[in-house]
């Protein structure tokens, strides 16, 4: 079995069908000289064999991992899970087509107690070392051991409260070490064991990632997104770079243009002293582009240039995951950005203007776009919104409040549109998303998986509404000064990020100028 190596200077073109879209793009970025952490890929074709438990597949997996880890150790001059200069890796999924957040990823693999010691030796930063360990434990416990993530989050929240700090990144080394102890205890209480041997960790992780192909949510997503023809996921093993190792480190997600409105300026979410999953999980509200400028103008400039370069390289608006490690920028992933129909139209209009696309190409790009959705709706006769959040997916939705997928289903079954109102969202809410007319969350940024999926589904979405406090069990919520209960009418504007009480009036306008321009292209290229 051929495993693909990705590092600076490695060859660039690989088929997404063979190694998954994520890895294919990584390879292209590495070949283009962009700063990509070295990685290797176990191919898609191994997925089915592993899922079916074929015996030779297990051996191929073990051999492939051993060979790949040797390559990564050589490329980084680190030793996997070592006690002096440890290499940690992420074990990521990636199908031929992007399925954001639907497949599993195990992070910080290799972070055994020996590696914690090694990270301290290497960085002199014990809090960081323990942070990696507790992240590894949580990720391994949930993905590989199948334990519930919520008790981990609860322990973290309890520790944050007990220490009187604002958030997890403010926990000190002593608290972080104790938290890790609680995590281990929890895993132990379920009679589970996290192996100390890094090779054992990675083998179990790679298997689990392959198997996540058949999880309920992945299957549901493939059905909804008409991706049933896909054969499986690849497994990409990538050297970890750390956004959680100091003040000049952080993780973020950037769009080369605004995927909600289509505006031609990057949209960047970043969390300092964090790892990537903190941003995309939607459980912490991130900071925006200005903070990078403050922390490091050089990195901010480099990121801007990189986004432009990526847009050029891939010929479309890009959705990029990045990490800043001690002031050095790393690009972890790029893919074509999911977008609202409005943004899709605006992008091609701008690309034609900027000469990136010819009108003919632009028309091809717009093929399949539902022009009936290309109206601009707005709320009419509204005054003060009840609350503000961040607009994450443009559009207007009016519906009745529901606090979980089940209640959204009930409301929809009664013939009324539902607005799904959640504390935060994770991709398990996919069923509710599909039912709801619009989504509101208390926490999370524009780049959270939830926002991403909402955009793709064309559902208006407001995230990070700090004035929202939800009592899911009690089927009610407080929205700033107002109290709402299940079934109350709400109106949301996913572009402005505003939420109104009641059933507001909606005005629909045609996008006449844009449609006229498209008509002009059509006339000029009648062959299409």
């Amino acid at each position: 079995m051929q495993i693909v190596h990705i590092a600076k200077g490695s060859s660039g073109r690989h088929s997404a069908e063979v190694i998954g879209a994520k890895a294919a793009n990584l390879a292209r970025m590495a070949a283009a000289g962009l700063p990509v952490p070295p990685a290797f890929v176990l191919p898609v074709k191994l997925c089915k064999a592993i899922v079916d438990g074929e015996r030779h597949a297990q051996q191929l997996l073990v051999d492939g991992l051993a060979e790949g880890i040797a390559f990564l150790e050589d490329a980084t001059s680190l030793s996997f899970g070592g006690s002096r200069r440890p290499l940690l890796v992420s074990v990521r999924s990636g199908a031929a087509r992007s399925m954001p957040g639907m497949l599993d990823t195990v992070l910080d693999v290799g972070c055994s107690p020996a590696a914690v010691h090694g990270l301290v030796r290497m960085t002199g930063h014990p809090r960081f070392a323990w942070d990696c360990r507790r992240r590894f434990l949580e990720s391994y416990a949930s993905v590989v051991l199948g334990l519930d993530r919520r008790p981990f989050a609860r322990h973290l929240a309890d520790m944050v409260a007990a220490e009187g700090v604002a958030a997890d990144h403010a926990l000190d080394v002593d608290a972080m070490e104790r938290l890790t102890g609680f995590y281990l205890q929890m895993i132990e209480d379920q009679d589970c064991v996290v192996p100390d041997d890094p090779m054992e960790q990675i083998e179990a992780s790679a298997q689990a990632v392959y198997r996540s192909w058949n999880s309920d949510r992945a299957r549901t997503y493939r059905q909804l997104a008409h991706l049933e023809a896909l054969h499986g996921t690849a497994v990409t093993v990538q050297a970890m770079v750390f956004g959680n190792c100091g003040l000049d480190s952080g993780s973020g997600v950037a769009f080369s243009r605004d995927p909600s409105t289509g505006a031609a300026r990057p949209v960047i979410d970043v969390l300092f002293e964090s790892q990537g999953e903190d941003v995309v999980s939607g459980t912490r509200t991130p900071e925006t582009e200005g903070s990078i400028q403050f922390a490091s103008p050089a990195v901010a400039a480099q990121l801007g240039d990189t986004l432009a370069q990526l847009e050029h390289e891939f010929g479309d608006v890009q959705d990029v995951e990045f990490t800043i490690e001690n002031g050095k920028l790393w690009i972890l992933q790029t893919r074509d950005a999911k977008r609202t129909p409005q943004a899709a139209l605006r992008f091609v209009m701008d690309f034609v203007k900027e000469g990136l696309l010819t009108p003919r190409e632009a028309l091809q790009r717009l093929n399949g776009l539902d022009f009936s959705k290309l109206t601009r709706k707005r709320l009419a006769e509204v005054y003060e919104p009840a609350a503000h959040g961040t607009g994450a997916s443009a559009g207007i939705a009016v519906g009745r409040a529901s606090f979980d997928s089940d209640s959204a289903g009930r409301i929809a079954a009664g013939g009324d549109p539902a607005i799904l109102v959640r504390p935060d969202t994770n991709t398990d809410d996919i069923v509710g998303f599909n039912i709801a007319a619009g989504i509101v969350t208390a926490i999370g940024g524009r780049t959270a998986h939830a926002a991403l999926v909402a955009r793709q589904m064309g559902k208006p979405c407001v995230v990070g509404c700090t004035e929202l406090a939800i009592d899911v069990a009690g089927h009610r919520a407080r929205l700033a000064a107002a109290s709402i209960k299940e079934g109350d009418w709400l109106s949301i504007d996913g572009e402005a990020g505003t939420i109104y009480l009641g059933q507001c009036k909606v005005v629909t306008e045609q996008l006449d100028t844009e449609l006229a321009e498209i008509e002009r292209w059509r006339m000029a290229a009648p062959a299409l």
Binding site: D52, G53, E54, R55, A57, Q58, S83, R84, P113, A114, H117, V120, R121, M122, T123, G124, H125, P126, R127, E163, G164, V165, A170, D172, V173, D174, E177, L184, Q185, I187, E188, D189, D191, C192, V193, V194, D196, E200, E203, A204, G246, L247, F294
Partner: protein, 651 residues
Amino acid sequence: MVPVSGRMDMKSLIIEQLGQTEILLPALIGDGLAANDRVKVRLSVLQAAARHARDPAGTSFDLTNECRAADIDPMAMEQLVKSASAMMGERMTAPGLSELATAIGDDVATMARAAKAGDETAGRSALERLAAIQAAAAPEAMDTFSLAQVSTLTGLADGGGDSLHRLVMDLHKSLNRLSAAHAEEDVAGARVYGLMPDDRPAVESFMRGVASTRKLKFDHPGLATIAARSGARLSIQNDIGETDAHVVVIAVEPNAVTVTYTDVHLARAKFFTRLFRDFPVQWSGLDRKSADGLNDGDAFYLVTGRIPADSGKQRDEFLEAIGASLVFLIDWNKARKVLRTWISKADAVVVLDWAARHRFGHRGFLELGGSDLVASAVHHATPQRIGFGERLDHALGRAAAVDFLETVLRVSSEALQEGGSVRLARDRIEADLVRHLQRVDSMLLAIVVRQSGLAREIATGIAQFIAHLRAGKPFDSLALAKRAQRIEEKADRIAIEARQEIRRFNADPVIAHIVDKIEEAIDELEQAAFISSLLPHDIAATALGHLSALCAAAISGAEAAAAGIAAAADIPDGQRIDSEDALAAVDRLIEAEHRGDAAERAITAIVLRGEFDLKSALSILELARAVERATDRFAGFGHLLRSRVLAELST
């Protein structure tokens, strides 16, 4: 005496629930044939009683030997026969007559069930016949029987009608037939029934595994194996440690092997599945089940593992691995409980897993005394260093405790296998504990790492504050001061604990000095954070630049302290790179002090030469001095670290 009524034990009950009755068939046939022997004796007793009732002076009871052979109490039977007396209307009575009738019915039922396990249709029809016969011969009053009934039961009805005795004879015939088809053989120590020639290599592989580790169970009973073929499937069952609800049944099919395993201990079930992590087994289940006939509290867990086997070689490797693993399940929970008094629950499993993978097991450890073995080593080797009831991972550190207990399991197993002296084993265990205690300094150094981390937290807080001042962005410096105070209090507590541990373990006094130094650095940094909260927000940019450099020096000092101590902890059995890294950290600590010194001088010059109001001047200087003193302490820490490293190298 009430005969065994065919009621199954828990293990059989579970196997039946698992749908693996073919494994039970040989035992059921045995039960059925035994019931056949009994029922014949009982029918004879019934006849004798009838005879005695008719003619009390006739021949005396002569079934003593037959009773004994069928495991029936002859005294009770003789008593019954002798007390049988005639009643009006051709009837007889005798105390125990009803009980005898019930026993007869149960015997026939046992035979019928055994026949049913081998031949569903025949068995079912026999049970129906029995029900019809019992309905026709409904009992009269207690311990009363009509003499006609006796002849119906014992005789063969004329004209082809059914009778109990005819049924017994039919059942006996079919049981004999089944028994011939399931004749017991021995294959490599397994009791096998009805195997095909191709089944032998599979059973032999399994038994090869069992034999390879059997010696590790020492005096514990168990590991008996039965194998039987039924249709397309070969089933292998092993008794493990002979405890109830602990069942493993392996079904071998042409292209796959399926292991069905039940256990009352969830943790042991998980341990068992993990032993096969090198095989591509698809595990499913771990459901909690309860079998009918078990009490509520007796629920058990069931897990099924399936592995495709394209070739006989793959199949046999897996079967051998299962066979070899079973000994490690015997007394597993007992061993885990013992280990848990010394280390965490998860680490106890880690030790047991290690011992299984290295083929030492834990039975030897339990044979040699288990917990007492460890306790006596602690008592002899370290009376004052490890407190009564204290866990070893607390006293030695996790890695050392796990390593020591692995040694204990290895040494006990080796000693028992080699027939070596128990005293020698105990000595070896004590020696290993002493070796770990000598290394306990490493654990104390981990406390210093924690302290260095806390120093870094305050230093970065101040650095962040200065960065915000430089950018003209708001910053909650009061919160910084509060947080620093909290951290400093925490660090105090840690230092007190560290000193206690140092005394207790009689550790290198240099470690105590190192702890003191880092605590002093934290005190200085906390003082600096306090002053930060009072600093005016309009400080000149030139001074702020140097303050940033000063904070960077303090952060670098804290980081070098942690990295250096961590490297130093590896020196005793490490490589040259460990001492080199530790000494490089010493350089960085001293270098940080130089940079701190330079920055503090530059700040002093700016303040004294510039136009600052008193409050600004004082606060800038105080802040700079406090941070600079912290870098001083780090340099002092560096000198101590160097002497520690050099001392380690010279031993």
